[in-house]
Amino acid sequence: QDAFRIAGIVPLSGAFGIIGENMRRGATIAFEERNNRVLGKPIEVVWEDTETSTQVAVQKTTRALARDTHTLFGEVSSGSTLAIMKLTEQRKVPHIITLSADDRITGADKTRYAFRTSNTVAMENRMIGEFARRQAVKKVYGIVSDYQVGRDMWAALKADLESKGITVAGIDFTPIGTKDYAILLDKAMKSGADGLALIVVGGDVTTSLKQGGEVGLPTKMKVMGTMLMDETQGQAVGGTGALGVHSTLRYHFTQDTPRNKRFVAAYRARYGELPSQYAGEAYDGMSWWLDVVESTGVWDKEKWVDAFRTSVRNDSVEGVKRMRACDNQADQMGLFGTAVAGGAGMPAVTMKVTETFTSQDLFKACN
């Protein structure tokens, strides 16, 4: 073997292009940190642009797997990830996932070779419910993108909220790509709810929050959701719509751990900006995986997989992460943040971590 070959299957254009690009940067820091070598061999990375299309993602994966690939990294959208997991399983190639959150990835459709080091939908959902309770929200209105994951998330969230004594004032499912949220937001504001669960994806996040900003939405009700707001989104939404929005966070550059400090410094030096949550998660998962590969000391994919399934990352960027052998899901804590005006040297909209949740709060035992 001449090189350790990694295929990065991420969108570099289209709606999720910005996410894929950030993941590429984060992963790159993980490679550079170890001088692009693992097990004494150079790391050889090929990045493939999936153009935010599952079709293309599958095609690029098929091609990448036709070469001798040792690790596959990606995708962003859970649909793509689920589709390419079938291929990595068939070819027995380790597959590292640091963004897609769908429960099926490490649930119903889990495979031996696919590992997720980042959050799941279920845990983020629980964070929202818990956040609403802690903030004493009484009534919640839901605006949810009309696709399967959205509907599933809402069903779980609704049950969770109701179990906590929070009432649901109303719910609207809206097609992905809705260009006008004014009516829906108006309905939500008139419903008498004090909390808005905004469970939308991609460009719809920007649209809904921008248009919310026009009518002062964040000042009128507590807007919350999963991956609803971060510094990247803040830039796209602008101050009026973004400030005051509450969101789960996968990672934040302010996390106070030695590894994170090192990572943020390296990232800033390399790219001149602070790492986003996508970059942070990508770095974290990739560096963890490579360290485990290194630790096995042998050139054997199966051994690497076995080792990773039971590994514990004590010094991840956000504290301890534990890989669960039962479902290849990393058990970890959760973050919740609120968008505030950034100080000097910070993005205009900066997330402030307001709540942290322990992994016990968020994960059910594996079976």
């Binding site: 570099l12 254009s13 289209g14 709606a15 292009g17 910005i18 690009e21 009309d146 609207d172 499912f173 809206t174 097609p175 790509g177 809705t178 260009k179 006008d180 004014a182 009516i183 829906l184 108006d186 309905k187 504001m189 008139k190 460009g203 920007t206 649209t207 921008k210 248009q211 900003g213 026009e214 009518v215 002062g216 990247t232 989104q233 830039q235 796209a236 939404v237 602008g238 101050g239 009026t240 719509g241």
Partner: protein
């Protein structure tokens, strides 16, 4: 009632977005698939100018810049192939989408942008018990203004006559003394400028990102088709019809909205195959 006002604002924004497409289609018979890309370019330029000089400058300068881009595009890529079948113009505009997106990506990167509007346009006013954003009222205003200018300038005056002649029978128009080349360039420039205006106006309300053009172009087509391909009055009616469908649909049946929009469209096409406003030609 507030639904109506919001529907009006949706319709007017749609009209602004579709006006340039309608114009170029109606006058040059070119389906400009790059319209969305020009709109995106307009939005990004507006973002940049707003950052440097403020929102009003953006609104004023973007149409001018886009008109220049339009002139360039028309001269370099479209002029040589007017004689070719229409599909070739389509191919060019497809190519232009890719090029324009690449230019924007190389200049501004992948992350989304936003434009802040001046203080007195932000925030909302209470209308019929509802908080309606001031900016939406401004959109309605600009939409109406654009509509008036286009209707007076093109449908009523002789300019429209000249322009239409260049699209339907350029050779004969030229034989009668019309400077067809100049007219085409001007029309394309105005169409591009309108796309830019649409981009600048939409900037504060819709995501400014690379794929914004692709997501808007289908809406524009819907408006243009309902209106009877390239008829300004028709486009106004089409835009309002879709605006209202969306607003009332969202009020009462939000998850059926897209299906509804297309149902309205297909119904129009089937009942009035040539669109709401259009004329038939003699064949034999």
């Amino acid at each position: 009632m507030s639904t109506f006002v919001i529907g009006l604002s949706i319709g007017m924004l749609l009209f602004l977005l579709a006006a340039g497409l309608t114009l170029i289609f109606g006058m040059l018979r070119i389906i400009n698939f790059a319209h969305g890309a020009l709109y995106m370019l307009g939005a990004y330029l507006a973002f940049q100018i707003a950052l440097w000089l403020g929102f009003w400058w953006a609104l004023a300068l973007v149409p001018v810049l886009l008109a220049l881009v339009g002139v360039l595009i028309e001269r370099l890529t479209l002029r040589p192939i007017y004689k070719a079948p229409h599909e070739f113009q389509l191919l060019i505009t497809f190519g232009l989408i890719l090029v324009l997106e690449e230019v924007v990506r190389a200049t501004w990167g992948l992350s989304g942008k936003s434009i802040a509007v001046p203080g007195w346009l932000s925030g909302s006013v209470s209308l019929f018990d509802t908080d309606v954003s001031r900016y939406r009222l401004f959109v309605i205003f600009v939409g109406l203004l654009t509509m008036a200018v286009l209707l007076l300038g093109i449908e009523r005056s002789r300019i429209g006559l000249v322009i239409r002649s260049c699209s339907t029978h350029p050779l004969m128009a030229a034989t009668l003394g019309v400077r067809v080349d100049h007219v085409r360039t001007a029309v394309f420039a105005v169409g591009a400028a309108l796309a830019g205006l649409g981009g600048a106006m939409a900037g504060p309300m819709l995501p400014i990102q690379l794929q914004m053009g692709g997501t808007i172009i289908l809406d524009c087509f819907i408006v243009v088709i309902i209106g009877g391909l390239g008829n300004i009055r028709g486009a106004v009616v089409g835009a309002l019809l879709i605006g209202m469908t969306r607003a009332f649909g969202q009020q009462y049946l939000p998850d059926w909205i897209d299906t509804l929009t297309y149902a309205v469209l297909i119904a129009t096409l089937l009942l009035r195959p040539q669109g709401l406003f259009s004329k038939k030609e003699r064949l034999a």
